[in-house]
């Protein structure tokens, strides 16, 4: 019997291959999206899960009156371990704060994050050097390891695990360092690094003021964490209060507390940080489930729309004595087979789109690993979707009354039409929201790309450099040598480049008013290199030697902030220097579009400032490649302290990275809009087919009575037209609120346009008319006599 049922099923599917492929294909696409979502979900929620003590590890953070942070000081971990018996182990780590190069002969490596950890932290975090974690023996202060990838880059032919000596910085610096071996850098962990040095104790001699470390504790299983948190806060206050006599400080210390943040929360929703990634993940998961459920419902609808074709089969089988459950089982198996094919297809689609997905979300997911739980999730999903998509059609089909269907005058019932209508409206509403969202994101991005930034990043090359040029006279020879290269128009150095980086802030007093200003320390030609527009006065100039001691340039926002009148020539005081304002520049969007331009002061001399290391060079467009080649060739002579490694980036690329988040959002919306519109159209297709099948006789009668094709098309289209219109009307206010809130995250934004709303309506209506008309066409073109034959 199974064989025969299978034959019926396959022949039937083949005869209706158009519908079958739409049905299975639709489900496959939704499944592909869902598979990607669960892969991503599993990945994002399982950071550090391989750590055997995953559930017992916490980060100890501080709560200051106005902020929370994970940065703590070295003695704290020791005190915790010493005083609290429920803490099994406590350790600290410190990130590498600057990038440096490591060399082995011609092989060079740039280590951005060479971490430090004490042995306890390494143990808690389950760090795995090749050959096992080792405690640095007696007189050895630290053991340093390079990640396996970096080790291979420096020592491509190395097969053993013996220590190596590497050069640090420029090859002429003469500094070397010992690397004890390689270590696994687990990218699926909160703790990642280029290399790490593990010591018995790090941060020796640093007291409670040095909050540059992260403290990890491992508690004994079953510890009352809330209680422990309180104890740690008490301990922290007690430690800070040691030797304090100043009443004000003591009061301040009493306002400080600590918190424990589980390792499991660290990646998605750290207490000291924002939980946006977690919210995004949840939203994405809901979207994934929604898409799959809607696809299943569409599958159901399309199956039922096809039911009339199977009615006779059901009738005959019943007449021959088939039980209802046999027929139910038969249809369930049939739908299972379709779902199975859809799953295979979905898996293939997911695999094909995985590279784009990985690129978009900056992850490295793979379907074919045992690490993800797909091997049990997929069969489960398959069964669930078979039940969701299959139960109703199987019950409807197996429930046909043979006495009715075998007479040939059979039509499926119109029951639960409000449910179908509602579903269709719902599907289109979601699609409309995504379409509108996509249009508005596009407009905002277009605006951001075309709007005048106030400076020109184009043809400005940012050169990475580790030597400091805080005094103009140290940079002067470098600039001279750079400018000798043909094509280079100007060169400058500053503490920050306009790539969205936040500069420092300090208090400045102008005419008795003290206020906080951002400061950026620059060199000559800074404004010229970036083509920033002057409003009043002048830029820094070598003809005015005083510029290097107390000259300052402010931007328009500063003028506005202090309400300055004729600021040029006036004095502004900060960092114990009376700066003379020599010029005012127009505001420029160094921080991107999200925040308004900050009131900023630019000076050459600033004892309170940072290191000037960021070199920028303006190069003529047509001489770009030759100039870069010359810089690379001569770099060691131009800037000997930086070494022979000439590394650069284009400023416009760097600035472009500020748009990354929006571009990501744009891609997500593009995918979601396509997917939701596709699924909505699929649902519409099934619905229209169902309706048309049910109205074939009516259409035949109308045709016989003289209705034209157009009249029949509009007859069938009208109800769908109204539903899609309702969907638009429902989603407009929603989309309006959502997009308005999104746009409000930008200081510089477009006015909310009306066009996307109209376009989304036009697009959905057009798609509706096309889809419905394809269905209606069959009924309209059919010979009415055929439809009425067996009456």
């Amino acid at each position: 019997m199974f064989r025969l049922n299978l034959k019926i099923a396959l022949r039937n599917l083949w005869r209706n291959r158009g519908i079958t492929s739409i049905n299975v294909g639709g489900l496959a696409i939704a499944l592909a999206a869902f598979i990607l979502v669960i892969l991503y979900f599993t990945y994002e929620t399982s950071f550090d899960k391989t750590n055997p003590n995953y559930n017992n590890i916490y980060v100890v953070g501080r709560i200051e009156p106005d902020f929370k942070t994970n940065y703590t000081s070295p003695p704290f971990a020791k005190a915790i371990k010493q005083h609290l018996p429920e803490v099994e182990n406590a350790g600290i780590t410190k990130r590498g704060f600057f990038e440096f190069s490591m060399k082995n002969g011609k092989n060079t490596l740039f280590a951005k994050n060479f971490m430090q950890a004490d042995y306890n932290a390494a143990k808690i975090l389950d760090l795995k050097p090749t050959g096992g974690l080792e405690k640095p023996p007696g007189n050895v202060e630290r053991l340093s390891y390079l990640s396996k990838e970096n080790m291979r880059a420096l020592f491509p032919d190395k097969t053993d695990n013996k220590p190596e000596i590497v050069g640090m910085g420029a090859s002429n610096s003469g500094i070397t360092s010992k690397i004890n071996g390689s270590i696994t850098n687990n990218l699926h962990s909160n703790i990642t690094f280029d290399g790490i040095s593990i010591g018995n104790e790090i941060g020796k001699g640093e007291n409670y003021g040095y909050n540059n470390y992260t403290t990890y504790i491992q508690v004994k299983p079953g510890t009352d964490v809330a209680n422990l948190e309180q104890k740690i806060t008490d301990l922290y206050r007690k430690e800070l209060l040691k030797g304090e006599t100043d009443q004000k400080t003591i009061a301040e210390i009493k306002g400080v507390s600590t918190f424990l943040d589980p390792l499991a929360n660290l990646h998605l929703r750290p207490k000291a940080g924002n939980d946006a990634p977690y919210k995004i993940l949840i939203a994405l998961s809901i979207l994934g489930i929604l898409i799959l459920v809607i696809a299943c419902i569409n599958f159901t609808n399309l199956s039922i729309a096809q039911a009339t074709k199977r009615a006779k089969e059901v009738g005959i089988k019943k007449v021959m004595g088939a039980y209802r459950f046999q027929l139910t089982a038969q249809f369930l198996v049939e739908i299972f087979i379709q779902c199975f094919v859809a799953t295979i297809l979905g898996l293939t689609l997911a695999e094909l789109s995985l590279p784009y997905f990985n690129n978009l979300f900056q992850v490295n997911l793979s379907i074919w690993t045992t690490e993800n739980d797909l091997c049990w999730q997929l069969p489960l999903i398959l069964c669930v979707i078979t039940l969701i998509a299959g139960t109703y059609p199987a019950l409807v089909l197996s429930g046909f009354k043979p006495a009715l269907v075998l007479k040939g005058n059979f039509s499926t019932s119109k029951q639960s039409s409000w449910l179908r209508n509602g579903l269709l409206v719902f599907q289109f509403s979601i699609a409309v929201i995504f379409i509108i969202g996509l249009f508005i994101i596009n407009s905002q991005l277009k605006y951001m790309r075309s709007e005048d930034l106030g400076f020109t990043a184009n043809q400005v090359v940012y050169i990475k450099n580790i030597s400091m040029f805080n005094k103009p006279e140290t940079f002067a020879p470098v600039r001279d040598k750079i400018l000798k290269i043909p094509g280079i128009k100007s060169a400058t150095v500053a503490t920050d480049i306009p790539d969205g980086a936040e500069g420092g802030a300090n208090g400045y007093t102008f005419e008795g008013v003290k206020s906080s200003l951002d400061f950026i320390d620059v060199d000559f030609d800074y404004f010229e290199t970036l083509d920033i527009k002057l409003k009043e006065g002048r830029f820094f100039s070598k003809s005015f030697p005083a510029d290097t001691t107390n000259g300052a340039v402010v931007n328009e926002s500063t003028v506005a902030k202090y309400g300055m009148k004729n600021p040029v020539g006036k004095t502004i005081r900060g960092c114990n220097i009376d700066y003379k304002i020599v010029g005012v520049v127009k505001d420029f969007k160094a921080q991107g579009f999200e925040s308004a331009v900050k009131p900023t002061i630019y000076s050459i001399k600033n004892p309170c400032g940072n290191y000037k290391t960021q070199i920028m060079v303006k190069i003529e467009g047509n001489k770009m490649s030759s100039a870069l080649a010359a810089l690379k060739a001569q770099w060691l002579q131009i800037n000997p302290k930086d070494g022979e490694d000439f590394r650069y980036e284009f400023l416009d690329d760097l600035y472009g990275k500020l748009f990354k988040k929006q571009e990501q959002l744009q891609s997500v919306f593009f995918g979601a809009a396509l997917l939701t519109i596709f699924i909505a159209v699929l649902g519409l297709f099934a619905f229209a087919k169902y309706i048309t099948n049910g109205r074939i006789k009516e259409i035949a009668v109308r045709k016989i009575l003289g209705a034209s094709d157009i009249q029949i098309f509009s007859l069938i289209n009208s109800s769908f037209f109204i539903m899609v219109l309702i969907a638009n009307v429902i989603s407009w206010p929603l989309a309006y609120v959502i997009t308005k809130r999104w746009l409000e995250t930008f200081a510089y934004r477009i006015d909310l346009p009306i066009l996307p709303f109209i376009s989304s309506a036009l697009i959905t209506i057009l798609l509706t008319v096309i889809t419905v008309s394809i269905q209606a066409r069959k009924a309209v073109k059919a010979n009415p006599v055929d439809a009425l034959k067996y009456e």
Partner: protein, 232 residues
């Protein structure tokens, strides 16, 4: 073999109640060939459906060799039907996705006949029906007469005690119609009881007895002498 007493069946819609069967009494002896005639809407199809256990009446009794059938549940009805009855329809009702052979095989499968025996039984009947060279074809590749032969073959393959035919010639031209009627006669001669609904007095003339229905009542019964004489 069949004793039907006081059968009543009412179709209800929201507004209208239609009495399809209004106290029908009917006896059919084993080996009889009975025709049921009457105008449209007289209840003849409903009667046939009730006899085939495809429909339930409101009240009355339906005994099949002393078994009361109206008290059976769905499962028992299915079982009884597949063991004792065969059906032939006006519009053939063959499954389009199955070949001639597979269509005929289907009832045997539901009766759990082993595969080897199925094959033998199907081949026998295919031969008897003279459709051997069509056994691999799909229904749509056959003429109406051929399709109805397949349908008859399907009804007979389980060797049912009772064959119910609902206007078996209604979609056929007269020569094909005659072929099918002759087939039913042959079948009847081998002992199968047949109840047939028809509009055609020509078709009815093939049967032993003709029952006329009107508005859910039996209004007349007539013994078909010519056919009975022929048999004697």
């Amino acid at each position: 073999m069949i004793k039907i007493e006081n059968l009543e069946k009412v179709y209800k819609t929201e507004e209208v109640e239609t009495t399809a069967l209004n106290g029908i009494n009917l006896h059919v002896a084993a080996g009889e060939f009975v025709s049921i005639m009457g105008p449209s809407g007289c209840g003849k199809s409903t009667l046939l459906n009730v006899m085939g256990l495809l429909d339930k009446p409101e009240s009355g009794s339906y005994k099949f060799i002393d078994t009361e059938l109206l008290t059976l549940n769905d499962r028992e009805r299915s079982n009884f039907r597949k063991k004792n009855m065969g059906f032939v329809f006006q519009n053939f009702n063959l499954i389009d996705e199955l070949t001639v052979f597979e269509n005929i095989e289907l009832p045997l499968i539901y009766n759990k006949i082993p595969a080897a025996e199925r094959k033998q039984l199907v081949n026998e009947i295919i031969e008897r029906m003279n459709i051997v060279n069509r056994s691999g074809h799909f229904p749509q590749q056959l003429s109406g007469g051929q399709q109805q032969r397949v349908a008859v073959a399907r009804a007979l393959v389980t060797k049912p005690k009772l064959v119910l035919a609902d206007e078996p010639t209604g979609n056929l031209d007269s020569s094909h119609g005659n072929e099918v009627m002759e087939l039913l006669c042959e079948l009847n001669e081998t002992g199968t009881t047949i109840v047939m609904v028809t509009h055609s007095s020509h078709d009815a003339s093939f049967s032993n007895r003709i029952i006329n229905l009107k508005d859910g009542h039996v209004i007349s019964e007539k013994i078909n002498k010519s056919r009975n004489e022929e048999l004697i």
